[in-house]
Amino acid sequence: MLTVGLFIPCYIEQLYPQVGMAALRLLERHGVRAEYPEQQTCCGQPMANSGCNADAAPLAARFLRVFRGYEYVVAPSGSCVSMVRNHYDQFLDGQPGFDHLKRSTFELCEFLVDVLKLGEVGGRFPHKVGLHQSCHGLRELRLGSGSERRVPGFDKVRSLLQRLQDIQLVELQRPDECCGFGGTFSVNEEAVSCMMGKDRVADHERAGAEIITGVDMSCLMHLEGLIRRERKPLRVMHVAEILDQSEGA
């Protein structure tokens, strides 16, 4: 049986534990033993993205210590996985185990599609769903082809969702515009961040979405914050929750 290390981003661990559980159940249902190393805390992205490399370095080292040795590391987050794959070199290059870690850390959907080779996840999800393309997952991990590039189209996340029975994926005006979370950007540039988020919500609303989903709970947390303040008739669910709910039912 395939064993993976379950990497639960700090904000999911603290604020959205149900997303972590959904990811766990999903993996288990597909024959994967997911271990949760308790010593993990945070990948260090908030510090690194603020330019505070000195504060991120110990967290990178910690991450390697915690997850070294797993055949795969899987996380329900595009941005955290991108941190490990694309931005840990400056901290861990040359360290034993890092090369393997870099090559074997996956976001959940890409793990299901690329490693488990799952064509689809079973079940029904009879709702109108808007897929928010989280930027790091899309442009750093290339979970999809994106609207900017002239390459053959593909979308790993959408491919899993669209096979759920009775799901209606709505069509957005701007399919992959940033939601405006951007980590500390959400606070440092609060005005623009919220305008961006409100515009995303409005796009989903106009398209008839009941639920906004995506691979990054951080984006969804920001959109949910705006939705709840404005009392909009929408809710957010992580892709893991949708897949788990459909399959589990």
């Binding site: 805390t41 490399n53 110990p58 951007g182 919220c194 305008m195």
Partner: protein, 458 residues
């Protein structure tokens, strides 16, 4: 140089909600036109690779190419000048004009001359300077800088332009039809072209192999300005060099499509030496470019061909406008160039980004813009230019996250305390997140606690 706070300027821009959305839609539309145009080019991504490669090669042999260019341009009868900085550039241009008794200059778009603040320099010395690109003429009449490098007046509504023209060009009050206003500008600028003693242009590409300079425009203003007056001054940054004539094909197939969604600009004019009974002066400028060339990370952005695609796609630029950056080149590329000039004054610019990466994916020369923005953030922290409060917050957060027990304690406290506090306290002014957003609902259990309860201790 006084600093600019992008967040403060952006907040003011966003406060006029209707206008901010209008600006955002206008630029998104240009981004969409770029998408349509690039979709029609089957080898688009290969072109981007080639463009990036040609620029990287050229920069690695820039000294040789500059000498080759100078040799060939001179052989064709052009005069090549060298300017180490803005002051030398301005002095050279002024010298050429004053020696010939030129008092009226017509200019087509050149971001370099904006960078050097050429206009005020010449005007202070008695030379009338007319910016002839329609967008630039509009902002010149308003005594404003351009807000976008390709679409200088994108921040203005046609009614505002109509009022401006009514006051300064005598058009009808209240008239705002773009055709009508453009016609008025045509007549007004035509007189300037006919009266000018010299014409100044920028340079889109300088070809080392032939000693030629290429200028790409849509309106015809650069060509009016260089075919009527006998003196043509072409100002270029050293990074505009490309090796061979055939390399132009790669860039010309990318430039207009990236900038405005057109397959090519209306005019792509190649200048090799002066015209009969005329003069061609080419002013080659450094002004910090050789210093940027030294930097392993930031040298890559010297490949920029000033198309503006990064600005059009940037969700932050579209919602904050060019003036929020306080630099002649705004948006993603500007946020990399500006701190290079003055990291202290422009320290907020690399943070004026969610690092979404869209800019890097539209850049025709594959500059990894969002990675360079991140690199600038690291540099700003290293130089001690990050505001103290942010520095402290990050240090604290980093410290807490290093120790699992401390992290869990902090989380536990937050989840116990925050829901117990009165709403007015939680959502007070200090809570920036909470100004327009609800805080996430605090769950009873963390994932770790849930996992232990449902799966047992790992």
């Amino acid at each position: 140089m006084s600093g600019i706070s992008h967040p403060e300027a952006a907040a003011r821009f966003v406060a006029d909600d209707a206008r901010a959305h209008w600006h955002d839609q206008a630029l998104w539309w240009v981004r969409k036109k770029r998408d349509v145009a690039s979709s029609a080019v089957p080898d688009w991504e290969a072109l981007r690779d080639a463009a990036a490669g040609i620029k990287a090669h050229t920069l690695s042999r820039i000294g040789d190419y500059l000498e080759e260019f100078e040799r060939n341009a001179t052989a064709r009868g052009a005069k090549v000048w060298f300017a180490r900085d803005a002051a030398e550039h301005n002095a050279v241009v002024h010298g050429i004009l004053s020696e010939r008794g030129v008092t009226k200059l017509v200019k087509s778009k050149s971001m370099l001359t904006e960078e050097c603040h050429l206009n005020p320099y010449l005007e202070a010395r008695g030379i009338e300077v007319t910016d002839t690109d329609l967008g630039e003429r509009i902002v010149q009449l308003r005594h404003e800088p351009p807000s976008h490098i390709v679409l200088p007046a994108i921040h203005l509504k046609k009614e505002e332009i109509g009022e401006l023209f009514h006051q300064q060009l005598g058009t009808e009050k209240g008239a705002s039809d773009p055709k009508y206003l453009t016609e008025a500008a045509r007549q007004h600028l035509r007189r300037r072209f006919l009266e000018a003693g010299a014409g100044l242009t920028g340079v889109n590409f300088a070809v080392a192999e032939t000693g030629g300079v290429v200028v790409c425009t849509n309106e015809g203003n650069a060509d009016m300005g260089t075919t009527l007056p006998p003196v043509h001054i072409a100002c270029m940054g050293v990074e505009k060099l490309i090796p061979r004539l055939q390399d132009l094909a790669v860039f010309l197939r990318l430039l207009a499509r990236s900038a405005t969604g057109q397959p090519v600009t209306t005019y792509t004019t190649h200048f090799h030496g002066p015209r009969r009974e005329g003069e061609l002066h080419i002013v080659v400028v450094d002004n910090g470019r050789s210093a940027q060339l030294k930097d392993k990370v930031f040298r890559r952005s010297l490949a920029c061909i000033r198309c503006g695609a990064c600005m059009n796609t940037c969700p932050v630029f579209r919602r904050s406008g060019g003036y929020s950056y306080g630099f002649i080149v705004p948006g993603p590329i500007g946020s990399i160039l500006a701190p290079g000039r003055d990291a202290s004054a422009y320290s907020t610019l690399p943070f004026a980004s969610s690092l979404c990466g869209s800019c890097s994916d539209v850049c025709p020369v594959r500059i990894d813009l969002h990675h360079e923005l991140l690199a600038w953030r690291q540099e700003i922290v290293k130089r001690g230019l990050l505001p103290r409060s942010k520095r402290v917050a990050m240090k604290l957060a980093g410290w807490v996250l290093r120790f699992a027990w401390l992290y869990r304690l902090a989380g536990w406290l937050a989840r116990r305390v925050i829901p117990a506090l009165p709403r007015g306290l939680v959502y007070a002014r200090w809570n920036t997140w909470g100004q327009q957003r609800e805080l996430p609902p605090m769950p009873r259990e963390t994932f770790r606690e849930l996992y232990r309860r449902l799966r047992g201790r790992p």
